[in-house]
């Protein structure tokens, strides 16, 4: 079970679901001390639907230092930026998804994040004369391009900067487009970007036709908003990336 990010989710708490069960699990203090979650009453559910106000205190990261969190937030913000087309990875809380995963299913990648984020900042200073956070958006992008291509590697990244880059890109996509149950894709911004009409347990022929006609409205539900699905999975000790299908 240690791989599961949460048995009781923030969503559960906000909905008042499983409160009796909550006593049996450790709910991290950080989860309860945030502006959103502290007000665990019905009115707060509506507040969840709007992105955090600028300047609002950031929810604490559980598996990263504040410096690492700042660097990761800045990086995911460039990978999937917020722009005229809509919210990006920052609004989706992709960095929080990653933080949570590093405490569970992706704990094996924690050291790679620590080393990689520090190397990213050192590379920015060495090559651009400023820390990554202080760079303009265009300069951040050019630093990230160097990481992606591997040119940032020599003497700064322990392994290959390209490997670090693609790991973060993969995890950022998961945090942007995965089920909100895992802490990302906040307010379903990722699914809305793709035009995905949402997790359903039944899609009738009429639903399919409506979808093909562009008339199926996004339903904005997590898999676990449906009753009856077990959240726990069998123990998971390995750290496998994308798996092949099993047809």
């Amino acid at each position: 079970m240690s791989d599961e990010p949460r048995i009781i989710t923030r969503r559960d708490i906000l909905r008042g679901v499983g409160i009796a069960g909550a006593a049996a699990v450790t709910v991290p203090a950080s989860l309860l001390s945030t502006p959103d979650a502290a007000a665990a009453e019905p009115a707060a559910a509506a507040a969840m639907q709007v992105p955090p106000r600028p300047g609002a205190p950031r929810e604490a990261f559980e598996n990263m230092t504040a410096t690492e969190a700042d660097l990761l937030e800045a990086m995911v913000d460039r990978l999937i930026p917020s722009d005229a087309l809509g919210p990006g990875a920052k609004e989706a809380r992709a960095a929080h998804y990653i933080d949570r995963a590093l405490g569970g299913a992706r704990s094996g990648s924690k050291a790679a994040y620590t080393a990689g984020l520090s190397a990213l900042d050192r590379y920015a200073r060495a090559s651009r004369g400023k820390g990554f956070l202080e760079l303009s958006a265009a300069d951040k992008d050019s630093v990230l391009m160097d990481c992606e291509s591997g040119t940032a590697t020599p003497g700064i990244f322990a392994g290959s900067s390209g490997q670090f880059f693609s790991m973060v890109l993969n995890h950022t996509r998961q945090g942007m487009f995965g089920d909100p149950y895992y802490g990302g894709n906040a307010n379903f911004v990722g699914w809305d970007l793709l035009g995905y009409p949402g997790v359903r347990t039944m899609v009738t022929a009429a639903d399919q036709k409506a979808y093909e006609a562009g008339q199926l409205k996004p339903n904005h539900k997590s898999a676990y908003d449906y009753d009856g699905f077990n959240k726990a999975v069998a123990a998971n000790h390995t750290h496998t990336e994308e798996m092949a299908h099993g047809d």
């Binding site: 930026p81 992008d141 996509r173 089920d179 149950y181 970007l193 562009g214 699905f229 999975v233 047809d247």
Partner: protein
């Protein structure tokens, strides 16, 4: 010291697609059957529509300690170093049939007589050099009744193309004659499937809906498919996917003659002084048990079948059980599942919902369905246009060189195109070769200290040529349907661990080149049967499970009908 359990008639090792089917006719005949399954039991509640869990973190495999701990090592040739990779299958009641795509194809008649048909039509020189392919010991006609049995007992939806020789143009005109229709109509088509079918017809091809072990309507009191889009590597939340866990296994249990033991890791098949199988040894929660049985049916996946035989050494079988002819592990091959073709359309494909078993198939280029006079390979490919898309996977889409992989331009690209790409999944003939084989790895062991299986295998010239041919046909099809971009993946060489793995315990009349006889019983151990793709000597250009299940039923029926011969001393039924 192993605890000796009460004697039973039949012990079945593995309760997946193969063993899970075999237990039903055995138990229905009144034999006392015990099934040993390394995994646990799961229900529809375990199958949430959750891409991160199913597809990113691969829970079905990760939930399987046994397969994970004994994943095969892989090398292309005997001179290369073998490296341990992943294992594509899972352990549970129902095995990988819990989460597979459930495409349920009969082999075509040609697949049973590759050698004689090729020689007759094109000459012996067309059999690729180094191939150990043989004709099956029987033809399609022999297996037809068992295909039919599986279609009705397990539940397969589809459109017949040849009923008693009468061709129905809505189905596959190249299929062997069947005696009746499928019990259920095919899964529905989307607007894109209709478009692809129309494009195929325009090319003079014969499109039809593929067969699936998935209910297209209520069947056996279980729901029809909900098309929710989480079928790939996902179990079914309404039990519409006809895994053995919801079909044959519960019916076997209902007879009162079948008992499933979960968490049982079998470590050897034991033999008595006469060289007959006496039962199996397994571990459960660290405790060792011996389950005596009159007949043993080995029904692991292809890798585990060869492995367990090779691990089961005795004075009668010093090189491994049923291996005195040195054939265990030989004639190994797998489908060339790679080399996809990906297309970009200028319109939405409508694939957010649906499933990989739902779509349009083309068999015009399969097997010997076309004249091979002017091509330099034998065998062929099916083409398959299906529905399968989920958000994280979609975000990883090919950008066809039209956008970078991240940033604002990428974001604009996926916003426009997330539902506009399509990837083919084409099955291709693979033949067995002398130098593609399975054996025990000399170095890598599982936590019990037992060697894992080692795959030595590469796709040869014949297979690579089929792959190129299939890619060209697929591109032609996509272009005809309006694709504006098409890319082809490299055709590859290394034959890694696969869900479509065959051979190692091949079936055939000649004990010099085959492990099991035409009934699936060992040539060397009369009361040992083997079930699974490991007995198949050819793959065809289509998914294996239907053939695996038809053969499993047939072997089980053979055991029932020949009980007194197989168990000469104590024929109690």
């Amino acid at each position: 010291m192993a605890t000796r359990l009460k004697d039973t008639d039949v012990v079945v090792i593995g309760l997946g697609a193969a063993g899970g089917v075999a237990v039903l006719p055995l138990a229905q005949a009144g034999l006392e059957v015990i099934g040993l399954e390394a995994g646990g039991a799961m229900t529809r509640r375990d199958f949430a529509p959750d891409e991160i869990r199913n597809n990113v973190r691969g829970w079905p495999m990760l939930a399987s300690h046994k397969t994970n701990q004994e994943a095969p090592t892989v090398r292309a040739t005997a001179s290369a170093n073998a490296v341990q990779g992943g294992h594509p299958m899972m352990n549970a009641i129902g095995g990988t049939s819990l989460h597979y795509w459930a495409q349920h194809w009969r082999l075509n008649p040609w697949d049973f007589k590759v050698v004689s048909d090729t020689k007759r039509r094109y000459g012996a020189s067309r059999i690729p050099k180094g191939s150990t392919v043989e004709d099956w010991p029987f033809g399609y006609d022999e297996l037809e009744q068992y295909y039919d049995k599986i279609e009705y007992e397990v539940g397969v939806s589809g459109q017949a193309g040849n009923v008693n020789g009468k061709i129905n143009p809505l189905g596959n005109p190249f299929e062997g004659p069947r005696k009746r229709d499928y019990p259920m109509p095919p899964l529905r088509w989307t607007a894109f499937h209709e478009k692809m079918a129309g494009a195929a017809k325009g090319l003079g091809w014969h499109p039809f809906p593929g067969p699936a072990a998935i209910n297209s309507r209520t069947y056996q009191n279980r729901s029809g498919c909900m098309y929710h889009g989480f079928c790939s590597t996902g179990g079914c939340h309404v039990d519409a996917k006809n895994s053995t866990a919801v079909t044959t296994i519960p019916r076997a249990q209902a007879t009162g003659h079948f008992k499933a033991v979960t968490g049982a890791t079998v470590t050897s098949i034991n033999v008595d002084g006469q060289g007959r199988a006496s039962g199996v040894t397994y571990l459960n929660n660290g405790e060792e048990f011996f389950q005596p049985a009159k007949v043993v049916l080995l029904a692991g996946f292809t890798y585990e079948n060869s492995r367990l035989l090779l691990l089961s050494k005795s004075s009668a079988f010093p090189k491994g059980l049923s291996n005195n002819h040195g054939q265990v592990g030989r004639h190994y091959f797998s489908h060339h599942q790679g080399a996809p073709v990906t297309a970009l359309f200028p319109f939405n494909v409508g694939a957010w919902y649906g499933l990989p078993a739902q779509g349009v198939a083309i068999d015009d280029f399969g097997d010997d369905n076309f004249d091979h006079k002017d091509v330099d390979f034998i065998g062929g490919c099916t083409l398959w246009a299906m529905s399968d898309r989920r958000p994280i996977g979609a975000a990883g889409m090919n950008t066809f060189g039209l956008a970078p992989g991240w940033g604002s331009q990428w974001k604009a690209f996926i916003k426009e195109n997330a539902d506009r790409s399509h990837s083919s999944y084409n099955q291709k003939t693979t033949l067995p070769y002398e130098d593609n084989f399975l054996d025990l790895d000399p170095v890598v062991k599982d936590p019990l200290g037992l060697p894992v299986i080692r795959i030595t295998g590469e796709f040869k010239e014949n297979e690579r040529k089929i792959a190129e041919y299939s890619q060209n046909k697929m591109e032609q099809w996509y272009r005809a349907a309006g694709a504006i971009q098409v890319t082809k993946a490299p055709t590859g060489g290394l034959m890694g661990a696969s869900t479509h793995a065959y051979g190692g315990t091949r079936m055939g009349d000649n004990p010099e080149t085959n492990v099991v006889d035409r009934w699936g019983m060992s040539h060397e151990v009369p009361n040992l049967g083997v079930l699974g793709g490991s007995v198949m000597g050819t793959s065809g250009a289509r998914n294996p499970t239907h053939t695996v299940q038809a053969l499993s039923w047939r072997t089980a029926e053979h055991v029932v009908q020949n009980w007194k011969t197989l168990v000469p001393n104590r024929s109690q039924q």
